[in-house]
C-alpha cells in the first residue's frame, strides 16, 4: 500500500498548480494551450532526430521555471516501473511474433520514452503554472461550454481532500485491527469494504454539500459566465507563441 501511495502522491503533487511568480505563471493560458497542442503534433513524428531535438527544446524551455525539472522527474519516476515493464513486454513480443529485429524494436521503445518525457515536461509546465480556472477561461474563450469544463476544476480541487480522507479512513480502520495484507484474495476483497464503504459515504456527503453550494452560488443559472481576469495578449505572449511556432515549423521542415 505504501509504495502505491507514494507513487500516487508523487504523481498527484507533480500535477497540481503551485503558487509562485514565474514566466509561465504570467503567460496567457491560451498560449499555453497552443504550446501543448504543438507538442502533441510534433511528437507524432517517427524521426528519432526530430524527437531528440523536441526533447531538448522542451527541456530548455522548462529552464524558465526550474521547479518544473523536479516535478517532471517525479512523474517520470512514478511511470518508470510501468514503462520498463511495457517496453520489455513489447520488445519480446515484437521480436518473437512480429518478425522485427531487436534493434528496431528497442529503437521504437526509446522513441516512446522520449515522447513520454516530452509530454511529461510540457504537461508539468502547464499544470504547475496554470490554475484550472485559467485553463477553463482559455477554453471558454475558444468556444467550449463552462459548465462541462468546471468538472475539471472540481476534480482537481477535491483530489487532495479525497486522498486525505482515504488516508484517515485507512488509519482509522488499522487502529481497529484491520490488516489488509493478511488473508486470501477473497478475504482481502471483503476487508477492502472497510475502506471503500466509509470513503463512499463520505464522498456522497461531500457531493451533497458541494451540489448545494453550487446551487446557492449561481452555478449554471446562465449558459455564459464572466471571468474576473482579463485575457489580453501581452508582448511576451506573442513572442513566446512565435518562438514555439517558428521553432516547430523549422524542426518539422529542416530536420530529416
Amino acid at each position: 500500500m505504501s509504495l502505491e501511495k507514494g507513487i500516487i502522491k508523487h504523481l498527484q503533487s507533480a500535477l497540481i498548480y503551485e503558487e509562485a511568480v514565474s514566466f509561465y505563471h504570467n503567460l496567457d493560458p491560451r498560449i499555453k494551450l497552443l504550446y501543448l497542442l504543438i507538442t502533441f503534433i510534433m511528437i507524432s513524428t517517427s524521426s528519432i532526430l526530430k524527437l531528440l531535438i523536441i526533447l531538448v527544446f522542451t527541456f530548455v524551455l522548462a529552464s524558465l521555471y526550474p521547479r518544473i525539472y523536479r516535478k517532471t522527474l517525479y512523474i517520470l519516476i512514478g511511470l518508470t516501473p510501468f514503462m520498463i515493464f511495457t517496453a520489455i513486454f513489447v520488445i519480446i513480443f515484437t521480436v518473437a511474433f512480429g518478425g522485427g529485429t531487436l534493434r528496431e524494436a528497442t529503437l521504437e521503445q526509446v522513441k516512446v520514452f522520449m515522447r513520454v518525457a516530452v509530454v511529461a515536461v510540457t504537461m508539468t509546465t502547464i499544470a504547475l503554472s496554470t490554475t484550472p480556472h485559467e485553463f477553463v477561461h482559455a477554453l471558454v474563450k475558444v468556444g467550449f461550454k463552462y459548465t462541462y469544463l468546471y468538472t475539471l476544476i472540481i476534480t482537481v480541487r477535491f483530489i487532495p481532500l479525497v486522498f486525505n480522507e482515504l488516508s484517515d479512513i485507512y488509519d482509522s480502520q488499522r487502529s481497529r485491527g484491520l490488516e489488509l495484507e493478511k488473508g486470501g484474495i477473497r478475504e482481502r476483497l471483503r476487508k477492502l469494504n472497510a475502506i471503500l464503504i466509509p470513503a463512499f459515504v463520505c464522498s456522497l456527503l461531500r457531493a451533497r454539500d458541494l451540489a448545494e453550494a453550487l446551487e446557492l452560488r449561481g452555478f449554471g443559472y446562465c449558459s455564459k459566465r464572466t471571468f474576473y481576469r482579463d485575457l489580453k495578449l501581452k508582448k511576451t505572449d506573442i513572442v513566446f507563441a512565435a518562438l514555439i511556432t517558428i521553432s516547430a515549423s523549422m524542426i518539422y521542415l529542416l530536420v530529416p
Binding site: 498548480y17 480541487r157 484517515d168 487502529s175 485491527g177 458541494l210 446551487e215 449561481g218
Partner: protein, 569 residues
Amino acid sequence: MKKTIVLKNVTYFYPSSNTPALENISLEVNRGEFLVIAGPSGGGKSTLVRIILGLIPHIYGGVLHGEVLVDGVNVVEKGFRAIVNNVGVVIQNPENQVVNIVVEEEIAFTLENLLYSPEDIRGRVNEAIKALGIEHLRRRLTHTLSSGEIQKVVIASALALNSKILILDEPLAHLDPQGARELISTLYKLCKDKGITVIIVEHRLSELAKYADRIVVLNKRILFDGKPTLAINKLLEIGVEVPPISRLFKELNKSPIPLHVDSSVIEILTRDIVNSNGICTSSSLSSSYDDYTAHKSDRVIFIEDLWYKYPDGRIALRGVNLEIFRGEFIAIIGANGAGKTTLIKHFNGLLKPWRGRVLVFGKDTKFNTVAELARNVGIVFQNPLHQFFEKTVLREVLFTLNNFGCKNCIDRALEVLKIFGLEDYAERSPYELSIGEQRRLAIASIVAYEPPIIVLDEPTAGIDYSLKLELLKILTKIIEKKKTVIIVSHDVEFLALAPLTRIVVMANGEVIASGSPREVFYNVDILKDSHIIPPQIVELVKLLGLERSIRSLNSYEFAEYLKRCYNVS
C-alpha cells in the same frame, strides 16, 4: 425595525417521515441583528438553516407548511435562486463548499456565475479581502488552508456579493479557542460596522453569548426567543452549554445571570467575599490539588526525543519527550496544527519516528505492526463516519473484537453496547444513529476489546453539552478500571470538568509543558505560548485575586468553594 427574515408558522416533515423536524416555527430577524440559534443536537437547527436558504423544500423535498420571507421574497414559492444575492452561508464543513483552487478565484466565483463585469468583480473581491483582512491568503491554494481560514474565505465570497445576511452552521466546532474568538469578533465587526445580519447556529455558547443581540433556543419548536441573559435558564434546563460564569451564578442562586466576566461580576463577588469572613485557609485547600506523581509507578508509554517529518519535508514533531503511566487520565492540548494528532498516531505505530523512539509497554513501535500495537493502544479518531461500514451497530463492534482474536463474542459486544446505551440499536444501521450515538459507538467498538490504553482525538467536536457530560461519565468509568485514557482536545471548558491527572501542552511540534490541570491552566505564559485560552472560571478566580487560596477550574468547584468558605449564596 426592518425585518429581513420572517418565518410564519413553519412546520416541516422530511420525505417519508411522520414526525415533524420542525413544528410551528415563527421567527422574525431584524436587519443588522446578531442572532444566535442554540439547541441540542438533533433539535432541527440545520433544518432551519436549509429552510431559510430555500434548499428545503426545493432540493430536499418533504412537506413544508407556513411562510418563509427573506428580504420580502417568498422563498417557498420562488425558490433559492431568488435570494442568491441576499444570503451567504457557511456550512458545517466549509471545505466542501469551496469549489476553486485559488482563494481569489473562489471569492470571485459567484459573481462570475451571475455575470458581473470583470472590473466590478475585481473591485468587489478586493473590498471583501480587505474587509476580512485576508490579503495574505489571496493567492493561496484552498486545500492548504486551515478551517478558520476557509471560513473567512467563504464569508469573503458572500461579502463580495454584497449579501446582507450571513448564516453560519456550527462554525466553532472545528476551531481552537483562539480561532473561535477571532471568528466571532470578525463577525461581530461585520454586523456592527456594515449592518450585516449575522445568524449563528451553535451550541458552544461560552464565547458567543455575550455578543448576541438575541438568542433563540430551538428543539423542534422554539422554546425561547429573547435577550441572552433571559435565555440562560432555558438553556440550562435543556442541557445546552452556557458560559461557566452563568452557570456559577445559577449555582449560587444569584441574579441577574451574567454572560461574561465583566466589572459588575467582579464587583458582586468581591462584595460577597469581603462581607463574609473567609473561613477556609489556603492550606486546607491544597490537599485537593491534583498530584499525578501518585501514578508514577507503572510506565506504559515512553517517548524519547521523537521527531517526525511529513513526506513534503515539513517537521511536525520536534524532540518530544514524554512518559505516560498506567491509570492516568491525560489531555494533550494545543492550537490546531500543534502536532497533537501526529503525536498520538505514533502510539499505535500508524506513524513511525523519523528520529528518536516510542516504546509502548516496552515494545519499540518501529519494529512492531499497527495490528500488534493496537492491541494495547485503542485510538478513536475524530470522525466516526471514517470507520462505519458494517450493516448493523452490533457488527461494527464485532468487527473490532474479531480482529483482535475474540471470535463469537456476541455477548461481550452486547454488553459493551449496553454500557454505552446502544443496546436498542444493535440491529440498526450505524448510519441511522444520531451524531452523539455514532460517537458513542465509535468509542464502544474500541473499548470492547479492552485495550489498556485508550486514546480519543477531539472527542467533543460538534457534540452538545449533555453529550459531553455523557462522554465524561463513560471516560470516568474507563479510568476506574485502571486503564489509561488520553484525550486530544482544545475544548478547555470540557477539560475543566474532567478529572484529569495531567495536561500536556503542545505548540509547534514541541511539548512545552506538562503538569496538573491547575498548574497548566493557571500558568499564563504556557497558555499564551500555546494559543490556548484558559477556562472562564480560571480567569474569574485570577481577577478576584483568589488564586493563592483556590485554583478552581469549573463553576461547580468554585461555587462549592464560595458557598463553603464565604457563605456566598
